[in-house]
């Protein structure tokens, strides 16, 4: 069912205009010995009715568990209007706004998005988005290397409290360009990066310092001290933030004496459904002075021939289709549709709504933690101030508990031990504003019932 409109008479007329005897003749420049056969391993085509049934069966098999997990992807309520509008064909099936006059809708959305991200992060310039939070961090570090001309080392101080998968992605993308990641230990009591971890690097050639906010354990770092330390040591300060947390906390542009230089993060909590990990979008903002090093598309407001304001892609001289091998990045697409969703999401929530979502998520996670630590064999691990995630230590391995909870329709959290061996039997949990008191109770009761045999053993 390939969605082809041609009638037999169309084909006949078209071949006549081409002066070709058959459609097959159009492929006569391909050497015969290279032609492929029937593609036997591709199944027969399906009608929409048939594929609908199949996809419903597959979806039903997975069900809709109760999520008490975050670890980089957060379940938030998304107003119905957001995806109703995003799914309009005019947004959904348009492409990159290369023809600006016929793409003013998409371009204005991106300009509004850029304005919102600058506002949230307290910085001057935003790009039109990157693939996701992890790649945004990688791109931010490559940008820091270009921007920090005084530093020759390409050494990046990377707290161990940054999401392990983000550190892996940075390694994949940046290792071919000679970046060296130096790990900063966290304080086992607070779960945050102590100034002492930085001390041994003072006076050394450091290109940038990454500052997670909150960090992977859900704790807020000492962002002012870290930012000031970076600047005092000739390094750029790169913030890695959850945008929802910024509704309640000081903007990265105001951290320390001068503010951070670059801010990036995962945009998923702003209107992207969990959707198995994507599509999401990464965002990046920076100080004005660094704009020419910023990767990805940027939209600017300008004037048309009649002096009327309009929007266009700008500063394209940075990009691969102009600079080719000398471009600031090979990035071509952004995540336009998700940016559209985020812009509508932020517009509908507004400042009061985003703050309320942040507060409710914090409060629910606190309720969850308070209830869980009442269970025998469960204790909190870190004392640092939390946003909406927390680390709990169990008196037994957590993997079997997660699996058992899964069988009861609950995604119970993220097992930390495989990525942090020192965090034996530790679980990272999260309860966003989407969880009710009854949900929290269900989780706690189910877990309590599952733990009993292990505790008794």
């Amino acid at each position: 069912m390939p969605f082809i409109p041609h009638t037999e008479s169309d084909v006949e007329q078209m071949l006549g205009a081409i002066d070709a005897p058959s459609i097959e003749a159009l492929f006569d420049e391909i050497p015969a010995e290279l032609r492929c056969g029937r593609l036997d391993r591709v199944p027969e085509g399906m009608t929409e009715m048939e594929i609908t049934r199949l996809m419903h069966e597959r979806a039903d098999a997975d069900g809709r568990p109760l999520n008490f997990i975050g670890a980089g992807a957060y379940e938030h309520h998304v107003p119905a209007a957001v995806w109703e509008i995003v799914s309009r064909g005019e947004f959904y099936s348009a492409y990159t706004p290369y023809q600006a006059e016929a793409s003013q809708g998409t371009l204005q959305v991106i300009y509004e998005f850029q304005t919102m991200m600058c506002g949230l992060t307290g910085l001057d310039v935003s790009n039109a988005s990157l693939y996701d939070g992890a790649t945004a961090l990688a791109e931010a570090l490559l940008m820091a290397v270009r921007a920090n001309r005084k530093s020759k080392s390409r050494r990046i101080l990377m707290p161990r409290s940054v999401a392990p998968v983000y550190r892996q992605v940075v390694e994949t993308i940046c290792s071919t360009q000679g970046l060296q990641l130096v790990e900063l230990a966290y304080d086992p009591a607070t779960g945050t990066t102590p100034e002492a971890a930085l001390a041994e690097h003072a006076g050394g050639d450091i290109t940038a310092v990454v500052i997670p906010h909150p960090n992977f354990f859900g704790c807020f770092e000492a962002v002012d001290q870290l930012t000031d330390w970076a600047h005092a040591n000739g390094a750029l300060a790169v913030a890695l933030v959850n945008p929802v947390a910024l509704a309640l906390t000081r903007a990265p542009g105001e951290w320390g004496a001068q503010g951070v230089d670059i801010c990036c993060g995962e945009g998923q909590p702003l209107g992207s459904p969990l959707s198995s990990g994507g599509p999401y979008f990464g965002f990046m903002t920076c100080k004005q002075a660094l704009v020419r090093q910023l990767p990805g598309r940027i939209v600017g407001r300008t004037l048309d021939l009649d002096g009327k304001p309009g929007f266009a892609l700008t500063l394209q001289a940075r990009e691969q289709h102009i600079r080719r091998g000398k471009a600031t990045s090979n990035i071509c697409t952004n995540q336009g549709l998700l940016v559209t969703a985020a812009t509508i999401h932020m517009s509908i929530l507004g400042p009061a709504g985003l703050q309320q979502v942040a507060r409710a998520s914090m409060a629910n996670t606190r309720k969850l933690v308070d209830a869980l630590v009442e269970l025998p064999g469960v204790e909190p691990v870190f004392s640092g101030t939390r946003f909406h995630e927390a680390v709990l230590r169990f008196d037994q391995p957590v993997r079997p508990l997660i699996d058992a909870l899964g069988g009861r329709g609950i995604v119970g959290g993220y097992a930390l031990e495989p990525v942090y061996p020192e965090l034996k039997h530790c679980l990272l949990v999260c309860a966003t504003e989407t969880k009710t008191d009854a949900d929290i109770d269900t989780y706690v009761q189910t877990l309590a019932a599952l733990m009993r045999p292990a505790s008794a053993a």
Binding site: Y92, T115, G122, T333, D403
Partner: protein
């Protein structure tokens, strides 16, 4: 008529309160962390937001509203079922780290998609994780690098790239720590094999090729190129930008390519979304299997599915995204692939080629010059306005902008860089003959206008929300965020 910025609709204290958690919530961050500035978000009602963004949507051309023959971008119909079914609530609410036991439905879709893509490309393994074509390219070249390094072959520092290649190719080579070396194209649009031979040597890590090339023609000497590159110890990278042209006709694996990326947002019809999300799955030959980016979906002996990660692929180039790439896009591609099925795959390339060759023949008959008049078009072709530019001064931009007034999105212009005043036209298989005929009529009318009144043409477009925009001003007087104080 302009649509004000959403910020201009904002009034202090206005909210869409039905959308956020109710009540007084007892939660605050310590004073030293607390927000001291505003959030910079608008304060509007839900209706105001809905109306504003609906109006903005109406200021776009899109596949659903206009013929969109943007060369190299495969702007084919995006079946609505793909969107609807990828957005079933169970798929939307599935957390990426949910236990595998509660994810068998989703994983089955991903495994099936891997198998289908392997079959249509002739590759031995597929990883779905790259999030866009450019990231697929990165993964591909990183695998080439990993392969050479694993063999202790560390002297290879160059990636060969034809001069007609997409800009992402040389940018990717650079990102992977290679020097990109350009190979010229001959007069018929094929790679200059003598120049290739001269460039190949112990420094060659590989070559990046698009076939059909960005010139809209099939690279006829591909088998010879493949042999030469392999003899020199290099690997062949296939840029899947133009896979739509050959789907079901010839497979990159059979042409000798070692690694490919596919643009699922082109060939497999996932939405372009105003510039993303894309999806750049990679396929590999036998020798690159150990290096695939993780995670990949595997199937156990008991027919259950699971993630393959570092433990299964210890030589992997690593992870490219926070989770497993653009999963929702992959679901859309899967639905599309299942609807097409085996026979549908063959028909995609057939009708894409029929439409392209028909358009080229008719435009040629109308007095336009194909860049490669002696070649078959693939799924796209190039018209050059070099002659008309000399005679009446018309540019590719003029034609592109005037097409908008006629209700057609413009083709790709000024790419590939080596053809002067070019229009790269890709109609795709989903357009009807009537749509193509309408486009041809518009092109004829524009050519006549160029002869009769070039000034009128240079002023186009006239019917869009804005007229031609001042790009120089946009770059020099940078205005990339709304600042009410500056606007006043």
């Amino acid at each position: 008529m302009t649509e004000p910025l959403i910020f201009e609709h904002s009034r202090p204290g206005r909210t869409a309160a039905a959308q956020f958690p109710a009540g007084d919530i007892d939660a605050a961050v310590p004073a030293e962390l607390a927000r001291t500035s505003g959030l910079g978000l608008p304060e509007v009602s839900e209706l105001q937001a809905v109306r504003h963004f609906t109006r903005l949507s109406q200021r776009n051309f899109s596949i659903d509203t206009h013929f969109y023959p943007l060369g190299s971008c495969t702007m084919k119909y995006n079946p609505r079922a793909c969107n609807r079914l990828a957005m079933l609530p169970e798929f939307l609410s599935r957390h990426p780290l949910a236990p595998v036991s509660a994810s068998q439905g989703f994983l089955a879709c991903m495994f099936d998609l891997q198998e289908i893509l392997k079959e249509v490309t002739g590759m031995k393994g597929v990883s779905l994780t790259p999030m866009a074509g450019a990231q697929g390219e990165f993964a591909g070249v990183a695998m080439i690098r990993a392969y050479h390094e694993a063999r202790g072959d560390t002297e290879r520092t160059e990636i060969l790239v034809p001069d007609a290649a997409h800009g992402t190719n040389p940018a990717t080579a650079t990102m992977c720590g290679y020097v990109a070396r350009e190979i010229p194209t001959d007069a018929n649009g094929d790679v200059d094999v003598e120049a290739l031979k001269a460039a190949l040597g112990p420094k060659t890590a590989g070559i990046m090729l698009t076939n059909p090339s960005t010139l809209g023609v099939f690279e006829r000497k591909i088998s010879e190129i493949s042999k030469l590159v392999h003899q020199a110890g290099g690997l062949l990278y296939y840029d899947g930008a133009n896979l739509n042209a050959i789907l079901g006709k010839v497979r990159p694996g059979d042409m000798g390519f070692d690694v490919i990326h596919m643009n699922l947002h082109k060939t497999f019809s996932t939405p372009h979304g105003g510039g993303g999300p894309g999806s750049g799955a990679v396929g590999v030959s036998e020798r690159l299997l150990p290096f695939m980016p993780i995670p990949v979906v595997g199937k156990a002996a008991d027919d259950s599915y699971r993630w393959l990660d570092e433990d299964d692929l210890p030589q992997s180039i690593g992870r490219l995204s926070g989770f497993m790439g653009n999963a929702g896009v992959l679901l859309r591609a899967y639905v599309y692939a299942r609807m097409l099925g085996r026979d549908g795959m063959h028909r995609v390339a057939e009708f894409a080629a029929l439409n392209a060759n028909y358009l080229m023949a008719r435009l040629r008959e109308a007095g336009f010059d194909p860049a490669f008049p002696d070649r078959r078009a693939s799924h796209e072709f190039i018209i050059t306005l070099k002659r008309q530019n000399k005679s009446v001064g018309v540019t590719a931009t003029d034609v592109a902008k005037r097409l908008l007034d006629h209700g057609f999105h413009a083709p790709t212009v000024y790419f590939p860089l080596l053809v002067p005043e070019c229009l790269l036209i890709e109609p795709t298989e989903t357009e009807s003959k009537e749509a193509l005929d309408g486009f041809i009529d518009a092109m004829i009318a524009i050519a006549e206008e160029a002869e009769a009144d070039i000034e009128q043409l240079r002023g186009a477009p006239y019917t869009m929300p804005v007229r031609r925009l001042d790009d120089v001003r946009a770059a020099r007087q940078l205005d990339v965020r709304y600042q009410p104080e500056a606007a006043a």
